[in-house]
Symmetry: C2
Subunit: 378 residues, 2 copies
C-alpha cells in the first residue's frame, strides 16, 4: 500500500491513529523480550526468534539487541529484507525446492557474503539442487536436516535417512551441515503442560538419537534447533536442543493465552492489538450491537477471531471488512466513532495482513515500523 | 513486496511461475464476465461489480468493458487506486466514520471531480461529518442510505429512520441522496435456492417499503442497489432493485461452488487458482503425504481451506506457510517439485494476501496484474 495511507506519525495520540491498525505496546513488548532472555539465562541455549511472526526488521534488531543471535525465516523472499536490514544470521527453517527457488536463495546468500544464511533439507534431490545453485552463484549455505519429531509436515523420520542426507550434504563444498531442525509445531498449542511435556520428550528423544547417529558417523551436528512459544522451556532444559526459535512470545495472541503454563515459565503479556473504529451502532429493543471496521482482511480467524480487549462484548460475526460485537454482560459502553482494541486470535497471519506496526508508549505513538516482509511468500 | 519478487513475466509457461501464486484462467474469467451480462440482458438492472473481491484495476476495466457501469469498494483507500486507474464511478458500499476518515474521502472525491464517488450512511452524525468534510474539501458525494435487510451488520431498519436520514442528507448541498444500499450478505451462502429466495423476498419487501416512503415524502430514491454472486438473479428480477453488486462471480471459490443453483441462472466456472510447489514428500508404510509451500499466508481459511483442483488428495493440515495433503483414493501422483493447483476456499480474503495476479491462457502467462488495492484497509 501507498505510503500516503500510513495510519499514524510519531507523536500522534493513540486515539488519532487511523483504523484498522496494528498497535504494539512498547512497554509490554520490551518486557516480553527481557522475560525470554531471563528465562534461559545461564543455560547454554541460544535464542533465534522466528521473524515469520512479526516480519519487521526493527523488531528483529531489538530482539538481537536483547540477546538473540539471529533470526529464523520461512521463505527466501522473507529473509531478503532482514539481510538487507543488517541482520547477519538468518536461518530459513523450511525446505527450498525447485530450480528457480534454489537459484534465488543462492543469489541472495551471494549478495551478503558476510552473513550466515541457513536452510533446511529433507530430501537428497533438494540437496543436489541447492549445491548446484550455490556453485553457480558462488555462495555458501549452512544446511540443517529437518527431522520430523511429530509435526508430520516435513522432515525425515528414520535415523538412516538422516545419516544418508548428511553424507549427501558433505559431498558439496558450498554446503555446510550445521545440525538438526527439530520443530514440533502443533505441540505449541496443546493446552495442558503435561501434553506439551510428553510431545517434547518424544521430540527430544528422536533428536538425541539422530544427533548420536551423526556423531557416531563422524558427521557434524553442532546445533539442534527448534521450539516455539508454547514449549521452549522444555527444549531449553532438554540437554539436547541448544537453540530455540520462539516467535509469538514478543506479541502474543488469544490462542497462546489459552495455554496452561507453569510458575517457573515466563508469563508473556499481550503486547499487540488491533485498533478499530465503531462504524455502526444499533441499540434498540431487538439489538445491542457495535460494528467495527476490521474483519477478515485485518485479522486471521484460523484460530478463532480477534476478541475484544475489554469487558461486556463478544464477537457475533466477522466478514471481510467488519466485526459485529454484541453486548454480553456489564462493561464499557461503545459509541459511534469509538476506537476499541481487539486481541488477535493468531498473531502470525494477522501481522501479515498489515503494512505498518504503530509502536505506542503511554497512549502516544513513538514510531511507525514497516512490516518489511509482509506478503513475502516466495 | 518488492517488484523483484514478481512471480512471472508475460510469455512464461505456467510450470515456470514461482509459487505460491494466484493464477487467473483468462478463458474462464472472460466467460464468467459474459455469463453475468447475458443473464441480466434485457432487464433494467445495472451491474456494479464489487472490487473488494479482486482489488485489481485491470479486472475492473475488463468488467466495465463487458458492460458494468462502475464498481463497488469497501474502503476509501480501496477506492483510491481505482479512481487513479480511470474508473470513474465508484460506490463505497460501507459507512465512513470519524473526522480523519471523512476528510480523506472528501479529499479523494475532490481529486477526481469528473468521477462519481458514492458512500453509505446509517447515522445522522456521520451525515453531518461527511457534509462538513465535503464543504472543507469542496467536493461532492453521492449518498446511499444503508438499509438492514437481514444481514444485521450495519444499516437502519425502521422506515421512519430512512426518511429522517434522507431529510438530514437533503440539508447539505454537497451530498446527493441517490437511493438505498440493501445488501443481504449472509444470504449469499445459504445452500438451497429456496432459502435464498426467502431471504431476498424479505429484503425486497423491506427495500420496497423504504423506497415508497422516500417517494411519498418527495425525496429521491433513483437507485436500489445490493446483491451478490449467490442471489443476484433474485434481486435482478425483484422489480425493486435496479443495480446489482456481485464480486466473486468473476473468479469463484469452494464456498460458492457448494451453493445449489437453478437451471436458468448462470453457471460460473472456477477461474482463479493458487499454484503451489510440493516442497516435501513422504511415501512409506506410515504416511503418503505431499506438503505444499502455501498456507494461511497464501489463502484464507474462514470458509474452509483451499482444496486440491485434482483427484486423489485431501487437505490434512494447514499452517502459516504449509498445506499437508494426504492421499485419498485414486488420482494424480505428486512428486517433489510438482506444482499442483488449489481452489481458494473464500476468494476475497485470499486475493488480499497476494500482490500479483498471473493471468494465463493455454498454460502460457499472458500478463501479470498488480493487486492494486491489496491491504487497503483504511
Amino acid at each position: 500500500m501507498d505510503e500516503q495511507w500510513i495510519p499514524a506519525r510519531a507523536g500522534d495520540t493513540l486515539s488519532s491513529v487511523d483504523t484498522p491498525a496494528l498497535i504494539l505496546d512498547l512497554d509490554r513488548f520490551e518486557a516480553n523480550l527481557t522475560r525470554l532472555m531471563n528465562a534461559i539465562h545461564g543455560r547454554s541455549v541460544r535464542v533465534r526468534p522466528h521473524a515469520k511472526s512479526h516480519k519487521c526488521v526493527e523488531i528483529a534488531r531489538r530482539q538481537i539487541a536483547a540477546g538473540a543471535i539471529g533470526i529464523c525465516c520461512q521463505k527466501t523472499s522473507e529473509a531478503a529484507p532482514f539481510l538487507a536490514g543488517g541482520i547477519a544470521d538468518v536461518l530459513i527453517t523450511n525446505e527450498v525446492v525447485g530450480q528457480r527457488k534454489t537459484a534465488r536463495l543462492a543469489e541472495l546468500a551471494a549478495s551478503y557474503p558476510a552473513a550466515k544464511v541457513g536452510v533446511c533439507v529433507d530430501n537428497a534431490i533438494a540437496v543436489a539442487e541447492l549445491a548446484r545453485a550455490c556453485e553457480r552463484a558462488d555462495s555458501a549455505l549452512d544446511v540443517y536436516i529437518e527431522l520430523d519429531v511429530g509435526h508430520n509436515r516435513a522432515g525425515v523420520t528414520a535415523t538412516e535417512e538422516v545419516v544418508a542426507l548428511a553424507h549427501a550434504i558433505g559431498m558439496h563444498r558450498k554446503l555446510s551441515l550445521r545440525g538438526l531442525q527439530a520443530y514440533f509445531g502443533n505441540a505449541q498449542h496443546r493446552r495442558s503442560t503435561s501434553e506439551r511435556r510428553d510431545a517434547i520428550a518424544t521430540a527430544t528423544s528422536l533428536a538425541r538419537r539422530a544427533k548420536a547417529a551423526l556423531v557416531e558417523a563422524g558427521l557434524p551436528c553442532d546445533v539442534v534447533t527448534g521450539a516455539g512459544t508454547g514449549t521452549f522451556m522444555l527444549e531449553a532444559t532438554s540437554g539436547v536442543y541448544n537453540e530455540i526459535q520462539p516467535g509469538s512470545y514478543a506479541m502474543m495472541d488469544v490462542d497462546y493465552a489459552k495455554n496452561e503454563t507453569e510458575p517457573s515459565w515466563p508469563a508473556f503479556e499481550q503486547s499487540m492489538f488491533i485498533l478499530t473504529t465503531v462504524m455502526s451502532r444499533r441499540k434498540d429493543a431487538h439489538s445491542d450491537r457495535a460494528t467495527l471496521d476490521a474483519g477478515l482482511k485485518s485479522f486471521s480467524t484460523d484460530s478463532g477471531p480477534a476478541s475484544p480487549a475489554f469487558a461486556g462484548w463478544q464477537v457475533r460475526a466477522v466478514s471481510d471488512e467488519h466485526t459485529v460485537l454484541e453486548r454480553h454482560g456489564a462493561g464499557n459502553e461503545l459509541a459511534l466513532g469509538d476506537k476499541p482494541l481487539l486481541i488477535p486470535g493468531h498473531i502470525d497471519p494477522t501481522v501479515n495482513l498489515h503494512d505498518w506496526i504503530v509502536a505506542v508508549r503511554n497512549d502516544r505513538v513513538e514510531a511507525v515500523w514497516r512490516i518489511d516482509a509482509r506478503g513475502a511468500i516466495f
